[in-house]
Amino acid sequence: MTSETRSSGCGSDIRQLTVRGLCHDIAGKRVLENIDLSLQSQGVTAIMGANGAGKSILIRILHGLLRPSGGTVSWGGRAMTRDMLRSQAFVPQSPVLLRRSVAANLKFALTLRRRRDISTRLDALLALADLADKADQPARTLSGGEQQRLALARALATDPKVLFLDEVTASLDPANTLAIETVIRRVSDDGTRVLLVSHDLGQGKRVADDVVFLHRGRLAEHSPAKTFFSQPVSAEARGYCEGRIVL
């Protein structure tokens, strides 16, 4: 984000991501190496790869939580700004819920961006997360799946144009995973750009429109989901899809 790059194509749609020459070092060790990437402004992109491939670092850099060591990230042709951050939302693998009730967690996010219709939106979000009957329960006493559904609803409370999800279903049971994937599809259909980190092949197949595959900090492959899962081009992706460990 050190300099601005002019993007070709989609003009000023801030859901359109362009990454140029992205590098990142942690404690002198290179964890992301020269990544170039262009994403369309619609759909669900799965960022996949083995543990330690750099997926979580990448998503945090794209969201502006981390400053990259080199290269540029631009949305709709412009570098990340605080205003842009306000139109994005992020759910990590273990969400940090406020020490308040379920409803108060949602209200906190709702009042960040709007002043009106809070209670209508609150009811809608509670219904979306299937937590209407637990609105007054302390958020941190919810089960893991409920907490993750609440975190997703809270992220959506700010009406994001881009939604980042980092392994949100990694520790959930199938029912909760299905509930969350259903919401993901729905918000994507409503026009929210979704970038989700996952190492669950099944999830990639179920929800992704395209797949960004990282291998040891490098972008090994970026292709439509159908192509990726049926005929991966790179050797690393092929190994990954076949369930082999690729070093």
């Binding site: 969201h63 939580l65 605080r82 951050l85 306000r86 994005q88 939302a89 992020f90 990590p92 969400p95 940090v96 406020l98 020490r99 308040r100 906190f108 996010a109 960040l112 302390p138 958020a139 941190r140 006493t141 700010t158």
Partner: protein, 235 residues
Amino acid sequence: MQDFADAFRLAFALLVQLDPNLVEIVALSLQVTLSAVALACAIGFPAGAALAAAKFPGRGAVIVILNTMMSLPPVVIGLLVYMLVSNAGPLGFMQLLYTPGAMIMAQTILVTPLVAALGRQVLADFHDEYDETFRSMAVPWRKQVAALLWDARYSLLTVALAGFGRAVAEVGAVIIVGGNIAHVTRVMTTAIALETSRGDLALALALGIVLLVVAVTINAAVMVLRASAQRLAYV
């Protein structure tokens, strides 16, 4: 020693009979100390939150100064406040010397560094936990501080309790700026000092026991509150 047995008997009698002098002294002690702790928390907690959440030049120095001020002797603070509010001092026009107001001021100065420093430690842990979430949600700075303070409320209650303990037990500051005037500025610790100087050690010790009973009651109330908060996973 005969005094021990006497002290416990006397303390029991004082508590059971609700001796009106004792009630007055205990009430003033609580009024002064609770006001001071409330003011200290109102100043110290936001300051602690700012120190926990914000990075600015000189922050380390401020933290060192705060931690140092925790060990300031009450009598020094008493002298400082005396020189401020004395008729010969800059705040003499406020006519605070030998009033509960001066005692509250002294104890506020005594407790604020403590609650700010301990509060900062508590809030720094909360900030570490919440930071990424808040940055991701682009929560404005002031709202971050408010949310940290609110979510840490039960942990901060323990900090406030530490402040209460330091204030309610000190005698050095309140005896100088309050003057230990009967029915006006006599609190439990200055009454204990007076009875000690009168050689009535049993009564002095009995008052000390009463002070402990009051402190135990408040500590227990906070414990119960925290326990219920823990059930709600709010701690």
